[in-house]
């Protein structure tokens, strides 16, 4: 039962998670993880003008899972969908100031959830009007 050492930033995001809770009227959401490994993350997004207007998460998991969820939502907030979907798990880990190595694999899934939520959004709202984005290509979905 040995726990790992978390840095102050991770502990801060764990203790004071940003953007935590349910997002009413979310435009899209995605859940990743597996209850059998203990970490499940759900990301909900509200999109307007192709930008992530609001984002919330719900996570069952260890401190690293909660902190990465919190950080991923912070990184994605107010970004365009194209910018946000480029956020990687590694970006999240770096923004937190490095996760303990053992936590990288199983608890750092928030960016995956974010990508999936954006993909779901694009799937759902493919037909809806959106502002053209620089570099937007037709087959990007």
């Amino acid at each position: 039962m040995n726990n790992v050492d978390y840095n102050a930033n991770i502990l801060d995001h764990f203790k004071n998670p940003r953007n935590m809770g349910e997002l009413k009227n979310a435009d899209a959401e995605a859940t990743v993880g597996n209850p059998s490994c203990g970490d499940v993350m759900k990301i909900m997004i509200k999109v307007s003008n192709n930008k992530i207007e609001n984002i919330k998460f719900q996570t069952m998991g260890c401190a690293a899972a909660i902190a990465t969820s919190s950080m991923a939502t912070e990184l994605a907030k107010r970004k365009t969908l194209d910018e946000a979907e480029k956020i990687t798990n590694k970006d999240v880990s770096l923004a937190l100031g490095k996760l303990p190595p053992i936590k990288e694999h199983c608890s750092n899934l928030a960016a995956d959830a974010l990508k999936k939520a954006i993909a779901n959004y694009k799937k759902n709202y493919n037909e809806s009007p959106k502002l053209p984005n620089k570099g937007d290509s037709l087959n990007m979905i």
Binding site: M1, F14, P35, C37, V40
Partner: protein, 387 residues
């Protein structure tokens, strides 16, 4: 901030009186117990009187006690030492809920060609005695079953198991690291017993193995031939003196048990909780409880913030990312294993029950607010009601 230490199954704070005696040895009787000069003799005398005291407590001969560095070494010496001395028998019986130092030692012997049977436990975390007798065969060397489980605190029927072993001419060893001084265990049919000092307010790094007279074991480390040639290495006299001094401690067993029961009652008011392991056959200071829909490492860290120190069986809190093998053996649902918390109480808990209940209840609430599994919680409660 006030600290409430509820992790006494992991280790304990050294008792004041014990620490005083240990310090005396550090500063005054510091000689090597093998030296022939006055300083050495002084040290040797302290060690021997400690051994006598322990033997008197156990109602055994001092020669039956071998001082070691603690539980892991005692368990290794018991199993490997007996195997080495009795190479003709190659079958060992143990249980699935043993401490890793038993399980890994058995795995190691398996690689050397031994056959090992792991007895399962029922959903209460208890071993059925018949399951052991059924497995005993001609080449069975040893049955090793722990007295008190370190995670769920369940107490195994050691007297019955040891009697069966005696009848069937098989050696019986018990890992009594969690039970010594807490739950009486007569040595009548027990051949070997492991004890570790730091679990009962003595220092870390000292323990002993009881080996009944007439039983042959061989050393697993060789050198200067201390402890009747069975455990070479300069004796840890300060630790040994501390271990013997800890026999005088009043562990406030009844008060802690009352406190434990109060905390359990309070925590049971939270929805979606489960107590893991038998309540009846359980050591007085253990609570192992699971909360649905949350993860134990987070819960532990949240309590840590409040100065409450506990541990968890969640995979996320283990360096190997494995969930507790003990909770798994009890057929507990994965979701409940992740949300498990172990509280092993000491005197810190007495009078602080409501505070502890409140802090745990709040932390569970906070984590459940974060969890995407809220709806399932209601389903889960319905399921329980229907059962």
């Amino acid at each position: 901030m006030e600290e409430i230490y509820l992790d006494n199954a992991a280790t304990t704070k050294v008792d004041d009186a014990v620490a005083k005696k240990v310090k005396e040895v550090f500063l005054e009787s510091y000689g090597n117990a093998s030296s022939l000069h006055t300083k050495g003799r002084e040290s040797r005398e302290k060690m021997e009187s400690a051994k006598k005291k322990i033997a008197t407590y156990l109602n055994c001969n001092p020669k039956e006690i071998i001082f070691t560095s603690g539980g892991t070494e005692s368990n290794n010496l018991a199993i490997r030492g007996l195997a080495k001395a009795n190479p003709e028998k190659k079958h060992i019986i143990t249980s699935v809920i043993e401490h890793p130092c038993i399980l890994e030692t058995c795995q190691d012997l398996k690689r050397e060609g031994y056959e090992v049977d792991y007895i399962k436990v029922n959903n209460d975390g208890l071993i059925e005695v018949e399951d052991i007798s059924k497995k005993i065969k001609d080449n069975t060397l040893l049955v090793s079953i722990m007295h008190v489980n370190n995670e769920i605190g369940t107490i195994q029927p050691i007297e019955k198991i040891s009697q069966i072993c005696k009848k069937q001419n098989v050696y019986f060893h018990t890992d009594n690291v969690q039970g010594f001084l807490k739950k009486d265990l007569p040595l009548t049919s027990i051949d070997m017993m492991s004890v570790s000092g730091h679990k009962f307010c003595a220092p870390k790094g000292v323990g002993f193995l009881y080996v009944k007279k007439g039983i042959k074991i061989l050393p697993i480390n060789t050198g200067g031939g201390q402890e009747n040639g069975l455990r070479s290495g300069t004796e840890n006299v300060p630790g040994i003196v501390g271990l013997a001094a800890a026999l005088d401690i009043d562990f406030k067993i009844n008060e802690i048990e009352t406190s434990r029961d109060k905390i359990i009652e309070g925590l049971k008011k939270i929805k979606g909780v489960k107590i893991n392991g038998s309540i009846k056959n359980r050591i007085y200071n253990n609570i192992n409880i699971s909360f649905y829909g949350i993860e134990g490492e987070s819960l532990m860290l949240m309590l840590d913030e409040q100065g409450i120190y506990v541990s968890t069986g969640s995979a996320c809190a283990s360096t190997k990312l494995n969930e507790s093998h003990v909770l798994k053996a009890l057929s507990i649902d994965e979701m409940y294993i992740h949300g498990s918390l172990r509280l092993s109480l000491g005197t810190d808990a007495i009078g602080k029950e409501n505070f502890i209940i409140e802090k745990i209840t709040n932390a569970v609430k906070k984590l459940r607010e974060m969890s995407p599994f809220k709806l399932n919680l209601e389903e889960e409660n319905d399921k329980e009601k229907n059962n």
